[in-house]
Amino acid sequence: MDQIMKVNELSVVYGKGCDYCRDSNNPLEKNRCPHCMAVCAVRDISLELYDSEILGVVGESGSGKTTLMKALYFDIIPTKGSAYLAAYNNGETDIFSVSSQQQRAIRNNLLGMVYQNPVMGLLMNYSSGGNVAQKLIAAGHRNVAAMQERTAQLLDHMEIPLNRVKEPPRNFSGGMQQRVQISKAIANNPPVLLLDEVTTGLDLSVQAKVLDLIRMVQKQLNISVIVVSHDLAVIRMLSDRTVVMLDGQIVEHGFTDQILEDPQHWFTQTLVHSLI
């Protein structure tokens, strides 16, 4: 299997940090450094994403999942670490080392993101169609008719009715907003899709529908997906492989089935047992 993305020893510290917490062998109080009180939200995380797979990231609230995703989408500048994308310069260049302008280009062309909070990902007062079109515009599209067609098609795919394309997301339910975000995220057929708690806060029936749509899109487009959730049930439904995060670190990783059947780390065991 081909590697699509590789992340090496990525850390994000909120606060200055000190020599003590920079050494990832030193224990913290949860994710907080007892010496300098900095929050080590993501601590030396390494992971690989393979061709056409869905990788699950599961962990309790505050374990650093959103911080990890935002760092990968260049919303947060990591404190240290590197990442490589097969689609960017043959995976030879650390994407955190390039200019912010290059990072914008990577973000616009090679990545799709669905934020936990739709306000982060959508312009709530612009039309839903326009929100999706913005991603196309950012990738250099300049034909309105073609963009309108593509936009309507993407939203239709996500079961947003055609007669609502001109409405702003602010009029929509949470589930619909997430589906607009997904349409936007996949508009340019990016090789990598990042999904942060796409179904959190949605009704169970709506959740099931959104998860179905994600699976369908992943198969059709053959893209690689990182799906983040605090809910192991979501991870179980979607992901082939899973990493388990606790206090900013990965405590366990493996095939999702294996992790569910035979969890090794005490925290994973608690998660799995609470699932039943």
């Binding site: 990072q103 312009l123 612009y126 039309s127 300049r142 034909n143 309105v144």
Partner: protein, 281 residues
């Protein structure tokens, strides 16, 4: 020293130097907004103080000044700015575009072609073309830095989707020198093309927002548009100035509520007077 005991051109030399430095920086990075320390003037902010500070910083005793407000040399605002500059510099005033060396303007570029000897100073109320999409000044600057202009195009896209055409009237966003998206102050669309590859220097000053930017001579200035919705001018066809008979210029529309008739007259009053006088001879 002039009659009022003010420094020449009102501002102290230090302030003028600082503003000139911002102007030079603006000229070297066409279309990029350069912050400057906006000074207090005996004219309220929002009345062209950004433009005025530029004018005061670049004007010399041999300059000839023209000031227009929406094309009009005789508006109260234009006259009070002219008076103020004359009083603190003693420079000659004119309404003749060709004679002027510095033209300070609000909302218009003169009809007569500007040459190498001209500097056009435009007063800008809102210098940030990304403002309506991004309220944070810091984030907007980052977007300029990254040439992330999808939001500027999205604004036009939304208008097309909603109204079937681009409805943006004045202040149509342009791409300057292939790099910066710029708000060309609220000049009408008709004037936008005059910015491209011009012989003169354009300077833009926003007093409230404390920004200066520039379009140097012979810089490419391209309106944002789409392949299937290209930039179009306002329709001025079949309109004739009722005073001087000019066609294909930018008009003010005058509605006569008694007869219900619509009349047109040149928005550029200096041009109109010159044109009318030439026809009399």
């Amino acid at each position: 020293m002039n009659e009022n005991d003010y420094n020449f051109a009102f501002l102290d030399e230090g302030s003028k130097r600082e503003i000139r430095r911002a102007i030079i920086k603006a000229i070297t990075i066409p279309g990029c907004q350069i912050p400057f320390g906006s000074r207090e003037l005996p004219i309220g902010r929002g009345w062209g103080t950004g433009g005025l500070q530029i004018t005061l910083s670049i004007i010399g005793p041999d300059d000839i000044l023209k000031v227009i407000d929406q094309g009009n040399d005789d508006s109260v605002n234009a006259i009070s700015i002219k008076k103020f500059v004359s009083r603190c510099t003693g420079v000659e005033q004119t309404t003749d575009t060709q004679k002027a060396t510095i033209i300070q303007s609000r909302h218009r570029i003169p009809e007569e072609k500007l040459g190498e000897n001209h500097v056009l100073v435009l007063q800008v109320p809102n210098p940030e073309p990304l403002r309506s999409v991004e309220r944070s000044v810091l984030k907007a600057r980052q977007m300029h830095g990254d040439t992330e202009y999808s939001a500027a195009w999205l604004l036009l896209y939304e208008q097309i989707v909603r109204y079937g055409k681009i409805t943006m009237g004045a202040g149509y966003p342009v791409l300057v020198d292939g790099r910066y998206v710029m708000a060309p102050s609220p000049i009408p669309r008709y004037d936008t093309l005059g910015l491209d590859d011009a012989d003169c220097l354009y300077l833009f000053g926003a007093g409230r927002e404390k920004m200066i930017y520039a379009v140097p001579p012979h810089t490419s200035v391209v309106p944002l548009d789409f392949d299937d919705f290209p930039f179009e001018l306002e329709n001025v066809e079949e309109r004739v100035c009722r005073i001087c008979g000019a066609e294909n210029v930018y008009f003010d529309e005058i509605f006569d509520s008694e007869t219900g008739e619509r009349h047109y007259q040149c928005s550029d009053s200096g041009f109109c007077a010159k044109n009318a006088a030439a026809k009399q001879i």
